[in-house]
């Protein structure tokens, strides 16, 4: 099988419930389709503190967890203007077949103020997008 034929699943990950929900679903999908997983952890990098950007410790745990799955995995971290655009860039780069994201509950006003990474990815992606919510 050539490199192109392998199903590629991009997952927008952050070290919280939403990221974990998306990641576990992405791993599930990758097993089903015997594909590979590309994990994206992105930040705008414009605040002093961003809990959704993994630190070394969390990254090490992620790599260890992923190694256990036995899948072909690629972890990418990036910093730029918009988190959604960064995920889309990676998806285009690896010609993804599926993008998995974690969806958070947000009120209409909250979305107006804060914008929505999920919406940006849903509207901008060329491939299928799977949005999951963490279990309560």
């Amino acid at each position: 099988m050539s490199e192109q034929a392998v199903t590629t699943i991009v997952v927008g990950w952050s070290p919280d419930d939403f990221g974990e929900a998306a990641l576990s679903r992405a791993v599930e999908e990758a097993r089903l389709r015997s594909g590979r997983v590309v994990v994206v952890n992105a930040t705008r990098g414009d605040a002093l503190v961003d809990d959704r950007y993994a630190d070394e410790e969390q990254l090490a745990r992620l790599t260890a967890d992923l190694a256990d799955t036995g899948l072909e995995v690629d972890v990418r971290r990036s910093m730029g203007g918009d988190v959604g655009d960064q995920v889309l860039d990676v998806a285009a780069d690896v010609s993804a077949d599926l993008v998995v994201i974690g969806l958070r509950r947000r009120s209409p006003v909250g979305k107006l103020l804060m914008g929505s990474v999920a919406q940006r990815i849903l509207l901008g992606a060329d491939c299928a997008v799977l949005a999951v919510k963490p279990p309560h």
Partner: protein, 514 residues
């Protein structure tokens, strides 16, 4: 106990609902700017200058005092939880404080910092109450030559002793002195450095300089480095400490206060040396007791330096109130605020404006107590501030900067100057020039020139008039020692920087001025 009676009067002035409100606003605002690295109390006071010109001096200074102490306190929160000391005075706190936080003892580290700051600030302020009037009553008798010598001393100490590089310090100082010269010569009415611009002949407003250098310069610098790898803040609940922590902290608190106050009270200022000394002392004592936890998060290493830091901040009020000599950026801007009210800073301040001085000192004590009450429960909220995205934060700062610069004189020309000075501020940050000597040069320069002219007039233009007073000669000797001592020490012993660079000293990517 004359001073205590006067202080009680000061309390009477402060403890009105309105003034308490200003004190609370100042304390909250100070903590806000102190927590965020890069912006500090000096910038906050500078931005508020135009606002306060519509207020009475007493509430304005009550608010400034709150900002000053609040800024000191906020800085320690950031260094403990994030290991990014916003100012050189917090470097020592960050060393052990962050280790404590990593070991799960963030609550205790914050508690010892807060209570230590409170104790050191209170003792320090009480010492100011006793020392400043005594110094002022001596100072009213000194003449222009000694006064000039003291200003030279303050500038030399701040420029060459405190900063890392004397050359950079002096470049900044002379830039500041030059900006201070622009405008009409007060004695002869000749325009200087005004390039035939009538608006420049009016002198450059201190508000515009301070806002341009602190606010606009910092905003441009941040815009140039907008995206940086974010950090993780260590989660913390309500700060608390148990009896063991208390027993281990009170010694360092008192020793730190003893180190900090004299260094602040000297016209040299600076909290770097006392915090460093306090850290070394506590480490040595811990080693002798056999409970050396340094390097693993020792509470003594937070309690001592943090107390030294605040005691030194209190100490700087002695030269400010008794001599009119500011030694930190914040007190320099406060001096400019005094001038804005038409109050002449100097030894006469204590007798001419007793209500203001004693209300200010009382508000320092009240603000200190408020800080303790507010900050212990609010620490988790302050930690949340670190999530504010820089674009939103600095947009707000730029708005107030432009508003403030325009409101000072209602001249559009000031906005042009603001941009120029902002670019200068950016260039200074780019080339590592310290901001404090510049702002000191701008504010102290004209006062210094006035004393120089006075001394020369007394002596009939004879330069020897400058050292005609014995005290002036003593001060010049101190200046000479201060300038030459570092070179001599460097010859005899290895550079002190080799000792200062302990392993794990957090990288400072920004300089915040107090």
């Amino acid at each position: 106990m004359d001073n205590l009676t006067l202080l009680a009067d000061g309390f009477g002035a402060v403890l009105t609902p309105e003034n308490l409100l200003f004190c609370a606003i100042g304390v909250l605002l100070g903590t806000f700017v102190g927590v965020l690295p890069g912006i500090g109390p000096a910038m906050a006071v500078a931005l508020l200058l135009p606002v306060t010109f519509g207020m009475d001096p007493v509430p304005a200074f009550i608010m400034f005092a709150g900002i000053y102490y609040g800024g000191m306190y906020g800085g320690s929160t950031t260094s403990i939880l994030l290991n990014t000391p916003g100012e050189s005075a917090s470097v020592m706190t960050a060393l052990e404080g962050n280790l404590m936080a990593r070991a799960g003892r963030a609550a205790q580290a914050l508690a010892t910092a807060a209570i230590g700051s409170f104790i050191a600030g209170t003792i320090g302020t009480m010492l100011v109450v006793f020392f400043a009037p005594a110094l002022a009553s001596v100072a009213v008798q000194i003449g222009a030559p000694t006064y000039f010598a003291l200003m030279v001393l303050a500038m030399i100490m701040v420029t060459s002793v405190l900063g890392g590089s004397p050359l950079r310090g002096f470049i900044a100082l002379f830039l500041g002195l030059t900006i201070g010269l622009v405008g009409l010569d007060l004695n002869t009415g000749q325009p200087r450095l005004s390039f035939d611009q009538p608006l420049l002949a009016d002198r450059i407003d201190v508000v515009v300089v301070a806002v341009g250098i602190f606010a606009l310069g910092e905003a441009l610098w941040v815009a140039a480095h907008l995206r940086r790898s974010p950090l993780h803040v260590i989660p913390v609940g309500r700060p608390w400490m148990d009896r063991t922590d208390l027993r281990r902290s009170w010694g360092p608190w008192l020793r730190g206060t003893a180190y900090g106050f004299p260094f602040g009270a000297l016209p040299a200022g600076g909290a770097e040396i006392p915090t460093f000394l306090s850290y070394l002392t506590e480490k040595r004592i811990a080693k002798r007791k056999g409970v050396d936890e340094f390097g693993k998060g020792a509470i003594e290493g937070v309690a001592g330096p943090e107390a030294a830091n605040n005691a030194s901040a209190a100490g700087t009020f002695v030269p400010l109130l008794a001599l009119g000599l500011p030694v930190t950026a914040t007190s320099a801007v406060m001096l400019a605020a005094l001038q804005g009210y038409g109050i002449e800073p100097g030894p006469g301040l204590m007798t001419d404006q007793p209500e203001l001085v004693w209300a200010l000192l009382a508000s320092l004590l009240v603000g200190n107590a408020l800080l303790l009450v507010l900050n212990l429960p609010l620490a988790p909220v302050w930690a949340k501030l670190l999530r504010i995205p820089r674009p939103q934060l600095y947009a707000g700062i730029l708005f107030f900067a432009a508003l403030g610069a325009y409101a000072a004189n209602l001249q559009a020309f000031d906005l042009f100057l603001l941009v120029l000075l902002g670019l200068l501020g950016l260039a200074m940050r780019r080339f590592g020039l310290p901001v404090l000597p510049l702002i000191l040069g701008v504010i102290l320069g004209p006062l210094m020139e006035f004393r120089l002219r006075e001394a020369m007039a007394i002596s009939g233009g004879d330069v020897a008039g400058l050292w005609s007073e014995p005290l002036a000669v003593v001060v010049y000797v101190v200046v000479a020692i201060a300038v030459t001592a570092p070179f001599v020490f460097r010859r005899v012993r290895p550079a002190p920087s080799a000792v200062l660079e302990e392993p794990g000293t957090p990288a400072q990517d920004q300089e915040k001025v107090r």
